[in-house]
């Protein structure tokens, strides 16, 4: 309940400061949202795509080394329903178990396949984990979202957000079942590459302000 109130306030503030426009994702049922990652604001903007009362049912995948302890952990847990992922784990399949559990429970999952915020405005190669998730749950939509202009607001190393127009563009959803015939290993890579290409094309295609 507290989280919903916080999110309602956040939504107003974000719309005022960043001029975000209401775009709804076509698939409002359970889905895996995938986006390019540049700032801490990304997650808040992406959650605007979901109806307000559903905010608690969207699990946000976050790095364990960053959001487990300290100020990041406190703010992160206050705002989001986090799933902490151990980026340095020796056994990546075991590390992803909590995400699969959340999907089995019927929650939506929001993750950034780049794995890090990286250089502003540069999309890093997508990790294969998203492919594995999609193939394990072939009927859950993977919804790529392209975030335009967000890298300017709070790039890594900046400490004060600066207002710029931000636009979240939902792209065509992808299903794991379409990639299953390629086999587990190939299908995983093909799906990740497909998502990466879709987001890169969307970033190229539109001007930052649109």
């Amino acid at each position: 309940m507290v989280r919903i109130v916080i999110h309602a306030i956040c939504r107003c503030l974000i719309s005022l400061f960043f001029g975000t426009q209401r775009a709804k994702i076509p698939e409002s049922r359970q889905c895996i949202v995938v986006a390019n990652h540049n700032t801490h604001i990304d997650t808040l903007v992406l959650l605007q795509l979901f109806p307000l009362r559903g905010v608690n049912r969207v699990r946000v995948v976050a790095a364990k080394d960053y959001f487990d302890k300290g100020p990041g952990g406190i703010v992160g847990r206050l705002l989001f329903n986090l799933i902490l992922l151990d980026r340095r784990s020796k056994n990546p399949i075991a590390a992803m178990a909590p995400i699969e559990e959340a999907l089995r429970a019927g929650d939506s999952v929001l993750l950034f396949p780049e794995g890090t915020r990286g250089e502003p405005g540069v999309v890093r190669p997508f990790k294969g984990g998203i492919g594995k998730l999609a193939l394990d749950f072939p009927d859950i939509a993977v919804q790529p979202v392209c975030l335009h202009g967000i890298e300017r607001t709070l790039p890594r190393g900046g400490f004060c957000p600066v207002p710029f127009n931000v636009f979240a563009e939902p792209l065509t959803p992808v299903y794991g079942r379409d990639f299953a015939p390629l086999g587990p290993s190939q299908g995983r890579k093909a799906l990740a590459a497909h998502l990466e290409k879709a987001i890169l094309e969307a970033l190229e295609g539109k001007p930052h302000s649109a």
């Binding site: 005022l16 001029g19 426009q21 502003p120 405005g121 202009g149 300017r152 790039p155 900046g158 004060c160 600066v162 207002p163 710029f164 127009n165 001007p207 930052h208 302000s209 649109a210």
Partner: protein
């Protein structure tokens, strides 16, 4: 369902602002708003007829009219409720257009192609922060500081910030672009804040005439184009009608259409004469009012072209997509940036001690 809700909200806003204006006894504002509502209603009927006849312009006029309804409603509500609301609203408009300007420009770390660099964020934040200061200064009516704050102090702040960042490459370009942004959208456009102190009617006078000029020049230009098409190829009248202002920037704008619409605006401005408030040095004289109207007509044209020029350089068609049918906020306020400061100073020099 959503559409119905939207229409109900719109009617509510229009009704509330009309009744507020009536209750505060602002007869001049009330009558202007009533006229605007009637004109918009006429356009709403027009686009329905055009859609029914499958006219080519139908959908565009529909989008534009609906957006106009909202802009007029929100603007009148902001001007009719309370002085504080008007300042906050216009300040936000400055902020939103400035943000749109900075968002339009490509920002990268490559020196050759970039217009802005990620290091410029500090200076950009400083120019945003000058907006609340300007709002406050206009609100307490401290004219002297209001008029020099942005062009002197914020202007000097930008190079100081750059020095503190210890940077050399591309700083000239960044400095120029950032300074241009806040001079246009905070200083020039910000004059509308101080204009509220002269009376909201002056602001309405300026904005209504500037927007009327945009519409008039479109139709006059279309009419003249059709007229020129009927004349013989080498007639002097045709050559005069087709004399372009700047082919590269906007291939359709001609001197003749610009001049005629400026004269029409100057005639239109006389309608506002009885509505204008009394200034410290007396009422606006007829001749001076026509002159101010003519200046709006001329400068609005150049404001329009100036931002076409900027958009062409960056390679975008519209500055955004916030206003359906119009494009971005800058596409709508571009001519106001040129007309508002000039109208403000013309009236202030002549009618204030």
């Amino acid at each position: 369902m959503r559409q119905l809700l939207g229409k109900a909200t719109l009617l509510c806003i229009v009704g509330v602002s009309l009744s507020l204006l009536h209750a505060h006894g602002q007869a001049a504002m009330f009558s202007v708003m009533a006229v605007l509502v009637v004109v918009l209603a006429a356009f709403s009927i027009l686009w329905r007829i055009m859609l029914a006849r499958h006219a080519a312009m139908g959908p565009e006029i529909r989008d534009r009219t609906i957006t106009w309804w909202w802009m007029v409603a929100v603007f009148m509500l902001a001007l009719s409720t309370h002085r504080l609301v008007s300042f906050a609203f216009l300040g936000f408009l400055c902020f939103a257009s400035l943000r749109e300007y900075y968002s339009m420009l490509p920002m990268t770390e490559e020196v050759e192609s970039r217009l802005l660099s990620f290091k410029d964020r500090g200076a950009i934040l400083a120019s945003y922060l000058s907006i609340p200061v300007i709002i406050y200064l206009a609100y307490i009516e401290w004219y002297n500081l209001f008029i020099i704050l942005v062009p002197v102090y914020v202007f000097l702040l930008v190079p100081i910030l750059f020095i503190l960042q210890d940077r050399t490459r591309g700083c000239l370009k960044s400095m120029g672009i950032i300074t241009l942004g806040f001079l246009f959208f905070v200083h020039n456009f910000g004059h509308c804040l101080f204009m509220i102190n002269m009376g909201p009617m002056v602001l309405l006078f300026c904005i209504a005439l500037t927007e009327a000029r945009d519409l008039l020049s479109f139709w006059v230009g279309k009419g003249f184009g059709r007229l020129a098409g009927r004349l013989a190829d080498d007639s002097w009248l045709r050559r005069m009608l087709e004399c372009k202002i700047a082919v590269e920037i906007s291939p359709k704008k001609t001197w003749s259409a610009g001049f005629v619409s400026a004269v029409l605006v100057s005639l239109l401005s006389l309608l506002f004469l009885p509505l204008m408030p009394e200034f410290p040095a007396g009422r606006l004289s007829t001749g001076y009012c026509a002159f101010v109207g003519f200046m709006i007509g001329t400068l609005g044209l150049f404001g329009d072209l100036a931002f076409s020029m900027v958009k062409r350089d960056i390679g975008v068609k519209d500055s955004g997509n916030v206003l359906p049918g119009h494009g971005g906020i800058i596409d709508r306020v571009d001519s106001l940036i040129f007309t508002i400061p000039v109208v403000f100073h013309l009236i202030r020099w002549q009618y204030y001690y």
